[in-house]
Symmetry: C2
Subunit: 340 residues, 2 copies
């Protein structure tokens, strides 16, 4: 019996982080009697007077939103990071260590329309979101105390999203969080050794193998990473090597918006519902150093596995050991590609 | 304004893994309009004829459970790991890397009673579970192809647990998963440098500070780690340095059962419901090498944050950046200690 990636349990290496994932291809067949989640199915109004993100409405913090007509950004009234945090730290025996962390948390409304999500929006309107992401990344990176900018979206109540109005967030901070720090190290090492970016070489392999590609355009490729953890996890990777939205061209911004539209439209077809996910852009740190190996990309982590209500639980073994998945990335890519 | 761990956003270092967690003490006050989870509140029968874990019943795989009266262990009919997996691997350009993984997945019923959970059981009966964990760890570690044994429990439907009958699992495998691999490295480095275990020294600090201790007995201490990620996360640490259940004494086994009982009883009082969690024992790898720095401990990762139905979501920022928590470990420990 020969080892077969499509049949036998195996571990895959995540070249971007240095982590591993356990893949159990045979396991999709196990019976399920556990939790099903509620899935939002209501039709929402274009404007909701009780929504704190709709134009003109009052927010929980007491401020009033302007009557915005495209995108809108404001400082999170309950941000996990604050600009005013004093410097300092705490240490004991080398084993208790804490460091003060300064930062800024923002909320970005993608559209004034309460009833839309990214896949419902025109590419031209998604492009306006990309423009805003770019402006914010550039503004924040000018601040001395901001060394990393995380742009992300939580979509769907199953993802802890507290309001269905289409919106994302930015958490910008002094230190580089754990995940981008791992990616930085892996990308740096690879670039130093090969003088090419890790993701350029990876993309070349994927474009040759064609097994995990979902959809492409002139400037971006959407694929299920070889080392994907979530059942329908994907990554949008730029064909050209650049590190952040400060280096993106106009044509690439259009193509990026186009990729987001194409991918999210496919996602909504998987289980015929508005597909929940967390997504975010991994860009070069804004710490004033050069990061020539950092290759711009966006991750999508959708939790659903079996149906509109049954997600993959990252629990016991996954928390204590490492992430585990039941269908292979190749099967997931096939399925997504079939929905283009 | 002086920096204060109880007031200001900060990062804490996890000495056991080398990771960081973002702590936002001020954030517990933010409003919540998002998802609430169903919480199991039914009273269950002592015996459920439709349960595939109850004594005498038939399992999904077709086999019949014996009429067991204490604990019961069997090979998972839908295990993520299999003993028969052929050796092999896959590699391309150093960027795609996979390795075949052999292993064994088992299910352990804690009690024949369908209606109990660990906190409902007598310490003497929990002790029987500890005995079984020990037997299994020892048996599995004798197998050449098993280099790491993960014993764990997923409790509650919110944790993806597929059956409320009190049970846990064991996933034993050829390679060392990511989390224990990080702990191994940190504990090894510390031991080499100090000739004492990291957790012995850590425990000494905690016993002196008393801020994060929940409950103790002669042989074990239950505490909220300084670097805890989940709102009411705890760790059971042995006072004596030993690496695994093969080195535990009879008195320590009783005390371990007692700690589990005490902790889970407290947990059920937090929101007056059967408290969901994933929990698991981190023991020395069974790879035939000495691991003198590995210090036996058990983690409890409970997801609830605000109420019986509102959990902490580890989503966007947490997936793309790093874990974040809203109440401090000290506040959580205070709360738990108040329920002893
Ligand atoms: O084996 P179970 O209880 O059916 O499954 C549960 O625990 C496993 C181990 O943590 C996870 O991989 C599954 O996602 C979860 O649903
Ligand atoms: O800021 P929100 O949308 O209220 O909150 C959500 O996203 C945050 C960032 O990923 C998480 O820390 C919260 O646990 C989650 O509920």
């Amino acid at each position: 019996m020969a080892f077969d990636l499509a049949e036998h349990p195996h571990r895959r290496y995540n070249a971007l982080t240095g982590d591993w994932v356990l893949v159990s291809p045979h396991r999709a067949k196990r019976p399920w009697q556990g939790q099903q989640e509620e899935v939002e199915k209501e039709t929402r109004p274009e404007y909701d007077p009780t929504c704190y993100l709709c134009p003109g409405n009052e927010r929980a913090g007491g401020q009033q939103n302007p009557p915005y007509t495209e995108t809108f950004v404001f400082n999170n009234d309950f941000g996990a990071l604050q600009e005013s945090t004093p410097a300092g730290g705490f240490e004991k025996g080398g084993l208790l260590q804490a460091e003060s962390e300064r930062g800024i948390c923002k909320v970005i409304c993608f559209s004034p329309r309460h009833d839309l999500t990214l896949p419902d929006m025109e590419v031209a309107d998604i492009r306006k979101v990309v423009d805003l992401w770019q402006r914010e990344y550039e503004e924040l990176s000018k601040l001395d105390f901001i060394n990393y900018v995380q742009i992300f979206e939580n979509k769907g109540i199953i993802m802890g999203c507290s309001n269905p109005h289409p919106h994302g967030q930015i958490w910008a901070q002094s230190s580089i969080p754990v995940e981008p720090a791992k990616e930085l190290l892996q990308q740096q090492n690879y670039f130093t050794k090969n003088n090419r970016s890790l993701l350029s070489d990876y993309l070349a392999i994927e474009l040759e193998e064609k097994k995990r590609i979902v959809v492409e355009n002139e400037h971006f490729v959407v694929l299920v990473p070889f080392w994907a953890v979530w059942p329908f996890e994907t990554m949008i990777v730029s064909r050209r090597l650049f590190g952040s939205l400060s280096q993106i061209t106009e044509a690439e911004k259009d193509a990026f918006a186009d990729s987001i539209k194409k991918l999210t439209v496919i996602y909504d077809k998987v289980f015929n519902i508005s597909f929940p996910y967390s997504a975010g852009i991994h860009q070069a740190p804004t710490d004033g150093q050069e990061h020539p190996g950092w290759h711009f990309h966006m991750h999508f982590y959708p939790p659903l596995l079996r149906s509109a209500t049954i997600k993959k639980f990252m629990v016991g073994y996954e928390m204590l050991g490492n992430p585990q998945r039941d269908i292979t990335p190749e099967t997931a890519a096939d399925r997504l590609r079939g929905l283009v």
